[in-house]
C-alpha cells in the first residue's frame, strides 16, 4: 500500500479577496506531492471547520490579509475543538502584525508565516510536522 498523502485544506476566511498567496502556496504544496483542497474565497469559520472534518485533513492553512485574523482565527480554533479535531495542524499566513502572533499561538494556531516566506520552507515545515506528530 502506498503511503497516505498529506492532506491540506487551504482556506480564505472572511471577506478578503487577496488569493494570490494562497493559490501559489496551494500549487507548491500540490507539486510537493500533497493533496490540496482549496476552499475559495469568503469562507465562514463554520464552513472551514466542516470542510476540514469532511476532508479529513492533516493541516489547515489559513490566509488572511484584511486584519480580521484577530477574530476569525480564534473562532476557527474554537469550532475545531468542538468537533474534536485537536490534532489538526493549523497554520496562518498573510498580513499579520508580529505583535498579534503570540496571541494567535496561544489560541492553538501552530505557526504564522509572514510575507516573503518561501513556499519550500512551508513544504518542509508541514512534512516534518506531520511526520513528527
Amino acid at each position: 500500500m502506498s503511503e497516505r498523502k498529506i492532506r491540506v485544506l487551504t482556506a480564505k476566511p472572511g471577506l478578503d479577496g487577496h488569493d494570490r498567496g494562497v493559490k501559489v502556496i496551494s500549487a507548491a504544496l500540490r507539486d510537493a506531492g500533497m493533496e490540496v483542497i482549496y476552499t475559495g474565497l469568503r469562507q465562514t469559520p463554520e464552513q472551514i471547520a466542516t470542510t476540514a472534518l469532511q476532508e479529513d485533513v492533516d493541516v489547515i492553512g489559513l490566509s488572511i490579509l484584511s486584519g480580521a485574523h484577530d477574530y476569525l482565527f480564534p473562532r476557527i480554533m474554537e469550532l475545531l475543538d468542538e468537533k474534536g479535531m485537536k490534532d489538526v495542524i493549523v497554520l496562518g499566513g498573510g498580513i499579520i502584525p508580529e505583535e498579534d502572533i503570540p496571541g494567535l499561538l496561544s489560541k492553538g494556531i501552530d505557526r504564522v508565516f509572514g510575507p516573503g516566506t518561501y513556499t519550500s520552507e512551508i513544504v518542509q515545515y508541514i512534512q516534518s510536522r506531520v511526520k513528527g506528530s
Partner: protein, 558 residues
C-alpha cells in the same frame, strides 16, 4: 523610420561592432546568458534604429494630445498641469477617515481616494454576521447616507475630485455621494471624481463581487447612462489592471486583460443602446507601476496607443476624447517587502517615476509599511513627499514623453502592444472577457504567472533586496497603525439608532420601488438614489438586488 540605405549602413556597422566584441566577450562574459524584463520579454544587449525600422512616426507616435496618443493624452502634459496626487485612504469610522482626509489635503494632496472596508465593498451592513472581524479594517465602514455625510463633512465637494474604490455596490455609493453633494448645495454637474465600478476584474483578481457577471454588466451600463446625462465630469468606471498585476500577471497580461475588460464594457453599453461617444470620454483606467522601470514606461505608452486604436477602429468612435486612455497609477503593493521596510521608500520612488515618465494622470504612492499593516500617518507623508519630489525637483516634468525615440523604449512599446493584441484576439475567440472569466482562462493565466514569479524568487533567478540577497536581521517597526476594536460596536449602535429614527415607511417604499425597477429593464440608478435619500442602508439595498439578481458562485481553481 529610416531609409533603407541608412539602415543597411547601420546593420553593417553593428555586425562589425559585434565581431570586435566577440573576443572580449569570451574573456569577460556577461553576467547572464540571457536577459529579460520582469515579464519575461527577452532584452537584447543593444537597441539601434534597426529595432524601430517599421516605426512610422506620424502613425505610431504622433503628437501629444492627438491620435493615437502614444506620447500623451494632453498636448502639454505636465507642463500644463501636474498629475493629481491621490493617496488611497480610509479606515475605521467615517469620523476618523474624515480627519485623515483633512490631514492629507492640508499636506498638499490634490484629490481624495476612498478606501472602503470589506463589508461595504461586498454590500453588507456592519451588523451582518459575515462582517464580524472586518468592520473598519481595510477601509472606512459606510452603512448609510448618514456615514457618508460624516465622511465628507467640511470638505467642499465642488472643489475636490474624489475617487472611490467601489465595484459591486458602486451605484449605491455614487448615489450617496450625489446625495451628500446635494445637501452641500453642489449640483451633480459640478461633481468630479471616479468610481472604480469594474466588476470583471473582481471575478478574476480582486474578489469583491456580489452578483453574477451578466446582471452586473446591466447595472454598469445603467451607471454609464446615468452619468453621461447627469454627471458629465464624472468618470463612470476605472478599468483596472492594477489588481490583475497584483494577483501576479505580467505587464503584457495587465494591458491585455484590462483592455479586454474595457472592450466588454463598451460592447455591453453599445448593446444596451448607448452611443460609443456618449460614454466613451468618461471611461478611465487604472494601472500598476511595478519594478521593471523601462518596461513599465513602455507599457503605459502601448496601452494608450492600443486603446485609441480599439476605440477608433473597432468601435468607430468619432470623439477624440473617447480614444484617450486616461489613467490613474498605483505603485505595486506586491513588491513591498516586510524585510527592511525603509527600502520600500526607494522601490516606490522608482515605480512612481516610471508612472510619471509614462504619463499618468493621477498617482498613489504606497507607504513603506504596507507589507506589515495599514500605513501610519508618517509613512503616508513620506509617500506623498515622494511624488512632490518628483514633481518639483527632478525636472522630468518639463517636456512631454521624454523617453520617446529611445530605440529600446519604442521597440518594447511595439512588442507589448503586439503581445497584448494577441491575447485580446484569444479572448475574442473565447467569446470575450465574460466567457473567458467564466471558463477560468484569465484566472489560470494570472495564477501561472504568479507561481512562476514566486519560483524565480525562491530559485534566486530573481533578486529581491533584503529578501533573498543583502539580508539583515533588521528590527521590524513597532509603531504600526492599530484599529480601535470598538469601531464595530460604535458602527452597529449607529446603525440601530438610524433604523429607529428614520421614516421606515419611506425607506421600505423606496426599497420596494427599487425591486420593481430591478426586475424590469429601466435604469436602477434613480430608485437607488431615492432609497439612499430615504436612509435605506447599503445592506438593505444590496439585499434587494441579491434577491433579484442572485449571487455569483465562483469555482475555485488551483
Amino acid at each position: 523610420m529610416k531609409d533603407e540605405k541608412t539602415l543597411q549602413a547601420i546593420r553593417e556597422a553593428r555586425e562589425k561592432w559585434e565581431e570586435r566584441l566577440s573576443p572580449k566577450l569570451k574573456k569577460f562574459p556577461e553576467r547572464k546568458e540571457s536577459f529579460e524584463t520582469i515579464s519575461g520579454i527577452n532584452v537584447k544587449r543593444l537597441y539601434t534604429p534597426e529595432d524601430c525600422a517599421d516605426l512610422n512616426y506620424l502613425e505610431d507616435l504622433g503628437f501629444p494630445g492627438e491620435y493615437p496618443y502614444t506620447r500623451a493624452v494632453q498636448p502639454t502634459a505636465y507642463r500644463g498641469r501636474l498629475w493629481t496626487m491621490r493617496q488611497y485612504a480610509g479606515f475605521a469610522s467615517a469620523e476618523e477617515t474624515n480627519e485623515r482626509y483633512k490631514f492629507l489635503l492640508g499636506q498638499g494632496q490634490t484629490g481624495l481616494s476612498v478606501a472602503f472596508d470589506l463589508p461595504t465593498q461586498i454590500g453588507y451592513d456592519s451588523d451582518h454576521q459575515l462582517s464580524l472581524g472586518e468592520v473598519g479594517k481595510v477601509g472606512v465602514a459606510i452603512d448609510s447616507l448618514l456615514d457618508m455625510e460624516t465622511l465628507f463633512s467640511g470638505i467642499p465637494l465642488a472643489k475636490v475630485s474624489t475617487s472611490m474604490t467601489i465595484n459591486a455596490p458602486a451605484s449605491v455609493l455614487l448615489a450617496m455621494y450625489i446625495a451628500v453633494a446635494e445637501k452641500q448645495g453642489v449640483a451633480q454637474a459640478d461633481l468630479r471624481g471616479t468610481i472604480q465600478n469594474d466588476i470583471l476584474k473582481e471575478y478574476s483578481s480582486r474578489g469583491t463581487y456580489i452578483f453574477p457577471p451578466r446582471p452586473s454588466m446591466k447595472i454598469i451600463t445603467d451607471i454609464f447612462a446615468y452619468c453621461s446625462e447627469q454627471i458629465p465630469q464624472w468618470n463612470s468606471i476605472s478599468i483596472s489592471g492594477y489588481h490583475i498585476r497584483e494577483a501576479g500577471s505580467t505587464a503584457v497580461q495587465e494591458v491585455a486583460f484590462t483592455l479586454a475588460n474595457g472592450i466588454a464594457y463598451v460592447q455591453a453599453a453599445i448593446d444596451a443602446g448607448l452611443g460609443v461617444d456618449q460614454f466613451g470620454p468618461r471611461l478611465s483606467f487604472f494601472f500598476n507601476s511595478h519594478l521593471d522601470f523601462l518596461e513599465e514606461i513602455a507599457k503605459y505608452r502601448a496601452a494608450r496607443r492600443l486603446w485609441a486604436r480599439i476605440m477608433k477602429e473597432r468601435f468607430g468612435a468619432k470623439d477624440p476624447r473617447s480614444m484617450m486612455l486616461r489613467f490613474h497609477t498605483q505603485t505595486a503593493g506586491c513588491t513591498l517587502t516586510a524585510q527592511q521596510p525603509p527600502n520600500n521608500i526607494v522601490r516606490v520612488a522608482f515605480q512612481a517615476m516610471s508612472a510619471v515618465l509614462g504619463g499618468t494622470q493621477s498617482l498613489h504612492t504606497n507607504s513603506m509599511d504596507e507589507a506589515l499593516s495599514l500605513p501610519t500617518e508618517e509613512a503616508v507623508q513620506i509617500a506623498l513627499r515622494t511624488q512632490q519630489l518628483i514633481a518639483c525637483e527632478t525636472g522630468v516634468t518639463e517636456t512631454v514623453d521624454p523617453l520617446a525615440g529611445s530605440y529600446y523604449i519604442e521597440s518594447l512599446t511595439n512588442r507589448i502592444e503586439d503581445e497584448a493584441t494577441a491575447y485580446i484576439n484569444k479572448i475574442d475567440e473565447l467569446g470575450g472577457s465574460v466567457p473567458a472569466i467564466e471558463q477560468g482562462f484569465i484566472q489560470k493565466e494570472i495564477q501561472n504567472a504568479a507561481y512562476g514569479y514566486q519560483k524565480a524568487i525562491e530559485s534566486g533567478d530573481r533578486s529581491v533586496v533584503g529578501l533573498n540577497i543583502y539580508q539583515t536581521d533588521s528590527e521590524k517597526p513597532s509603531n504600526l497603525l492599530r484599529m480601535d476594536p470598538e469601531v464595530r460596536n460604535r458602527q452597529v449602535a449607529r446603525l440601530e439608532k438610524l433604523r429607529k429614527e428614520r421614516d421606515s415607511n419611506a425607506a421600505a417604499k423606496a426599497l420596494k420601488n427599487l425591486e420593481e425597477t430591478a426586475r424590469g429593464n429601466e435604469n436602477v440608478m434613480v430608485p437607488i438614489l431615492d432609497a439612499v435619500k430615504a436612509y435605506a442602508t447599503l445592506g438593505e439595498i444590496c439585499d434587494v438586488l441579491r434577491g433579484v439578481f442572485g449571487e455569483y458562485q465562483p469555482s475555485a481553481i488551483i
